[in-house]
């Protein structure tokens, strides 16, 4: 019986995957998105090896030098190679936004699962707490917390993780509330399975598609937030090659040297578009028919 059940699940899994790819083919932007992200991942891993110069190596004789053969993206106000800085900086943005998203997804998932499944007073309290966090605009809350904790890489990760917990928890909870009434959950309860078993084996797998879509959306918002905090000087501190910080510093110089602004700004734009395409593609693949939700 157990075996038959497993076989059935496997089959269902195959046809599930089989359904994705034809759907994916209808939206070429999804491929573009994944390609951009893979390219940035590659750069983040191998960037420091590819980079022709060290990201903080100064050359004061060659300040604000326009793009040339030696410096294909030009140099900044300290004569640092912008190309090398962007390559190395991809690590910062992906790890900070990525870890923040991972934190939010993990805790949001836990809260959403238990809150939705248990219901009652616990649910009420968790959701009201989430409402209070949501009552403060995210960027403002991030600024105030970072003001108190002091700006640093770890603190930015913690803040991003904390801020996005409520959004993830709400999405997960709403899916759990719907699943709870389904017959297969009812059946598991009749069999006398424990709550933890039901949550892990019956509910969690069905939450995953929505969670994946939500996570990819959170990732794009995290990049947005991390870059904005870097720009405001509340994120990763100089001389680190954070893209938002580079754009912020470029503000003083781009009147005379546009490339100081264009390349890091272009890198942010490209990454953001890539993540947007990917998350949109994921939503169309995993949640067909659902109202596309932004928020």
């Amino acid at each position: 019986m157990a075996l038959a059940n497993g076989e059935e699940k496997k089959k269902a899994g195959v046809s599930y995957l089989g359904k994705f790819f034809p759907r994916l083919r209808r939206y070429p932007t999804t491929y573009i998105g994944f390609a951009i992200i893979l390219a940035f991942l590659f750069i983040a891993i191998f960037g420091p090896m590819i980079a022709p110069y060290h990201y903080s190596q100064q050359n004061l004789a060659l300040r604000l030098d326009p793009p040339s053969e030696e410096h294909i993206f030009g140099t900044d106000q300290f004569g640092r190679d912008i190309y090398s800085r962007i390559l190395v900086g991809s690590r910062d943005v992906l790890t900070v936004a990525g870890s923040g998203t991972a934190l939010a997804v993990f805790f949001g998932l836990l809260l959403g699962l238990f809150s939705g499944y248990r219901g009652g007073l616990f649910d009420e309290m968790v959701m009201r707490a989430m409402d209070v966090i949501l009552s403060i605009p995210p960027l403002l809350l991030a600024m105030v917390i970072l003001f108190a904790l002091g700006p640093s890489r770890v603190n930015v990760i913690l803040v991003v993780g904390f801020l996005y917990i409520p959004m993830v928890a709400r999405v997960v909870r709403s899916v759990v509330l719907e699943l709870k009434t389904r017959q297969f959950v009812e059946a598991a309860r009749m069999r006398g399975e424990s709550s933890l078993y039901i949550l892990y084996k019956e509910i969690l797998p069905n939450v995953l598609p929505s969670l994946a879509v939500e996570a990819s959306m959170r990732f794009s918002y995290s990049i947005f937030l991390v870059a904005s905090l870097g720009f405001l000087g509340l994120g990763v501190q100089p001389p680190s090659p954070d893209w938002g910080l580079m754009v912020g510093e470029a503000r003083t110089w781009f009147y005379q040297a546009q490339w100081v602004l264009y390349f890091p700004a272009g890198a942010i734009a490209l990454l953001v578009v890539g993540v947007g395409f990917m998350s949109d593609g994921l939503r169309r693949m995993l949640l067909p028919g659902g109202v596309s939700d932004v928020g």
Binding site: V132, S135, I136, P138, L140, A148, A227, S228, F277, V294
Partner: protein, 314 residues
């Protein structure tokens, strides 16, 4: 509706109290002593001790909070630690400036976003849709400081159409500020435009699939009538909520955009306050932002309820 309204107001008051506790407690983690910050690093021990006494810093934390909250409600928002000026006139003046910027941005992106969203929905999966969806996706994700600086570079420095810097006299009237408001308003609008367009598109697609639209088509109504009388009336309902839900985004966007252009609004005031550790400015400014946010959410709920009598929220 009446009791619902009262309950919502009650909920907002509770939210504001909790938010004020959060903001007050976070700002207590400030590295260093407030009295030290005010007097500078060369102040004598006794001077610091006296000021601590005067500011009530020796009282227990909950008493400090109650004093602060009580004064805040009575309109005494304290004095700026940097300029020593009363905080309330500064914050209200900056709030007006931010409201002018936000209003102009809303006037740009809401109608434009709705039009683009409806076009995308009608041409679903065809070229116009793919272009609108693709471009709006890029705009939604593009941080305001990136789009803002690029706009300055192209339209202000390159083409010379707009001033590159909007750090005008905070007392300027709307018409004095207008030329300086256009570029920041476009910057804020880009994010909101993509957002409204996407949501209008998905709302309209849902309505287009509905039975009553099918029925209207089958009974031979001309397409334009189906669109105005059946589709838009229903598909624009969610847009109201979307615009209001986007207010949180708008507020964040204003903070960054004002920093980019140096526009003297509430956002730039908050960023300055944080850079200079000006505690009263941060507290009052944050509270006002939270209050505006809560009220706009309430307004959205009420408008939504009025537009759609089927919804009885409880």
């Amino acid at each position: 509706m009446g009791s619902y309204f009262i309950r919502r107001i009650g909920f907002i008051i509770i939210t504001l109290i909790l938010a004020s506790i959060i903001i007050f407690s976070i700002t207590q983690f400030l590295p260093g002593d407030v009295a030290q910050v005010i007097l500078g690093q060369f102040a004598t021990e006794t001077a610091i001790a006296n000021l601590r006494e005067e500011l009530g810093l020796n009282e227990p934390l909950h008493m400090q909070y109650l004093n602060w909250a009580g004064n805040f409600i009575q309109g005494d928002w304290g004095n700026s630690l940097v300029s020593r000026m009363p905080v309330r006139p500064i914050v209200t003046q900056r709030l007006v400036n931010s409201a002018m910027l936000a209003g102009l941005a809303l006037l740009i992106y809401v109608p434009l976003g709705i039009v683009l969203g409806v076009i995308a929905a009608l041409k679903r999966d065809r070229l116009p849709d793919q272009m609108i969806t693709g471009v709006s996706m890029a705009f939604v994700g593009l941080p305001e400081f990136v789009s803002g600086l690029l706009l300055i570079s192209f339209l202000a420095i390159g083409a010379g159409w707009f001033p590159a810097n909007s750090s005008i006299d905070p007392d300027s009237t709307f018409f004095q500020s207008l030329p300086y408001l256009i570029l920041p308003a476009i910057t804020v609008s880009l994010t909101g435009l993509g957002y409204v367009a996407r949501m209008t598109r998905s709302g309209t697609i849902d309505v287009l699939r509905s039975d009553y639209v099918r029925a209207a088509e089958l009974k031979g109504l001309p397409g334009s009538q189906v669109l105005t009388r059946h589709v838009l009336r229903n598909s624009l309902l969610p847009t109201v909520t979307i615009v209001a839900m986007g207010i949180g985004w708008l507020l964040g966007g204003l903070i960054v955009t004002e920093a980019v252009y140096g526009y003297p609004g509430l956002g730039r005031l908050l960023v300055y306050g944080i850079q200079r550790q000006d505690l009263p400015i941060i507290q009052a400014g944050s509270m006002i932002v939270v209050a505006v946010y809560s009220l706009s959410n309430l307004a959205a709920d009420i408008i939504y309820g009025m537009l759609n009598p089927r919804i009885r929220v409880d």
